[in-house]
């Protein structure tokens, strides 16, 4: 094949290689609409867990508050605290030790990853009774809260691999959390497919190994 003929082949590629049929827009939208807008666990507002589990949000806020309190200068009266502009200007202000925060984050991540792996491994291939579905859905809903807290944490933002794994886990957990509703029964196959396609389990194992080795 000479140069000219090859150039013709390249020019013809849009018509000769996998030319797409018209997209089935309505058909695809039905699935998307049902998965997103009809989902009982809202996936349109991943961070809106506070409305569904206010006690958990309060607990998270409390833990965060205690954590922050431990790293604030001791004995400081709020009225005595310098203005933000003064803090910015003072280059000698000591920076708080963040190693304990990092260690706490690592522990939490490690525990969470273990729980997520256990849930995915124990997920049955099929469930005729529906009872197991409800149990898994509850566990998944609990894990979703932690997932979203971890996704939003600055440490996850610094680790793109973990961040991407958490996002994929979020999607899988949302699907599991929806299992308890009547119309989503039988979605187990889809969940297993999603776990397999995203290579979620092996990524989870590798993430667990990484966090454990960094301890």
């Amino acid at each position: 094949m000479d140069e000219n003929r090859f150039n013709d082949v390249i020019r013809e590629l849009p018509r000769s290689f996998n030319e797409p049929p018209p997209p089935p827009l309505d058909e695809m939208w039905t699935v998307i609409e049902e998965a997103h807008f009809d989902a009982p666990v809202s996936i349109s507002k991943p961070r809106g867990f506070a409305s569904r589990a206010p006690w958990l949000a309060a607990a998270a806020a409390l833990v965060l508050g205690i954590g922050l309190g431990r790293y604030l200068p001791r004995g400081a009266n709020p009225s005595e605290l310098p203005a933000p502009s003064a803090i910015a200007a003072n280059s000698t202000t000591p920076t708080p030790d963040t190693s304990a925060v990092a260690a706490a984050y690592r522990d939490q991540t490690n525990r969470y990853l273990g729980q997520a792996a256990a849930l995915l491994i124990s997920l049955p291939a099929r469930d005729a009774s529906g009872k197991t579905d409800a149990t898994f859905a509850t566990k998944a809903t609990d894990l979703l809260v932690t997932t979203r807290l971890l996704i939003d944490s600055p440490a996850a933002a610094q680790d793109p691999k973990l961040h991407s794994l958490l996002e994929d886990l979020e999607l899988v957990l949302v699907q599991i959390a929806r299992l308890h509703t009547e119309k989503n029964k039988g979605d187990l196959d889809l969940i297993h497919q999603a776990v397999e396609q995203g290579d979620v389990l092996s990524r989870l194992n590798s993430a667990v190994a990484t966090t454990q080795s960094s301890e």
Binding site: V9, I10, P20, P24, M28, W29, I32, E33, E170, Q197
Partner: protein, 198 residues
């Protein structure tokens, strides 16, 4: 009279070149989707789905898979819309998702195919009377033999008409890398097709 939102949205292909007010309207549309507005969701979908589907089909060569990839892309995108910061164009962000979805599925398929090949390696006889493939078949085979990075770049540039800047943004590589990948992909294609006699 209310003007439909879709009137403000340019075709997905031209998103990066749109006027600033169009961008603003897309930002408003995204905010409405985050708030749970189905109509806004459908408008955003109608704007981008044809191009997403087209790319998914080119990359997979299968209508059923392209459908699943497109659905998965939009479900993922809508669920993560609140994380879209607007640093890149929405179309770039969306195409990053479809490329990831297709790549993950392809990797999984290749891994399974390799396992099947190993299991069935014994006892397979190669037919000596296999018909000579035509050019279209040879091209398909040659494109499929390219590495993922080369294949993706060639399909996006030479077949789907994305610019190097767009591909670079979607794949997260410098434009120069994109250009060199395309050149290497074409060279490999030329080599594979060299033996073809018409």
């Amino acid at each position: 009279m209310t003007i439909p939102v879709s009137n403000f949205i340019a075709n997905g292909r031209d998103l990066d070149q749109r006027q600033p007010n169009h961008r603003v309207n897309e930002t408003q549309l995204i905010a409405r989707v985050i708030a749970g507005d189905r109509l806004a969701g459908r408008t955003l979908y109608d704007t981008h789905a044809p191009r997403v589907y087209s790319l998914a089909y080119r990359l997979s060569g299968d209508a059923e898979k392209a459908r699943e990839f497109t659905q998965d892309t939009f479900i993922r995108a809508f669920s993560r819309l609140s994380q879209f910061r607007g640093d890149a164009a929405f179309s770039t962000w969306l195409h990053r998702i479809v490329v990831t979805v297709v790549s993950n599925a392809r990797r999984s398929e290749l891994r399974m195919a390799r396992e099947v090949e190993l299991d069935e390696a014994d006892g397979i006889e190669v037919s000596a009377t296999e018909a000579e493939p035509d050019l279209k078949e040879c091209i398909s085979r040659a494109v499929d033999n390219l590495s993922d990075a080369y294949r993706m770049t060639l399909i996006m540039h030479d077949i789907e008409g994305y610019t190097h800047a767009e591909i670079a943004g979607i794949l997260g590589v410098p434009e120069g890398t994109c250009k060199s990948r395309l050149s290497a992909a074409r060279a490999q294609l030329r080599q594979e097709l060299a033996a073809f006699k018409e």
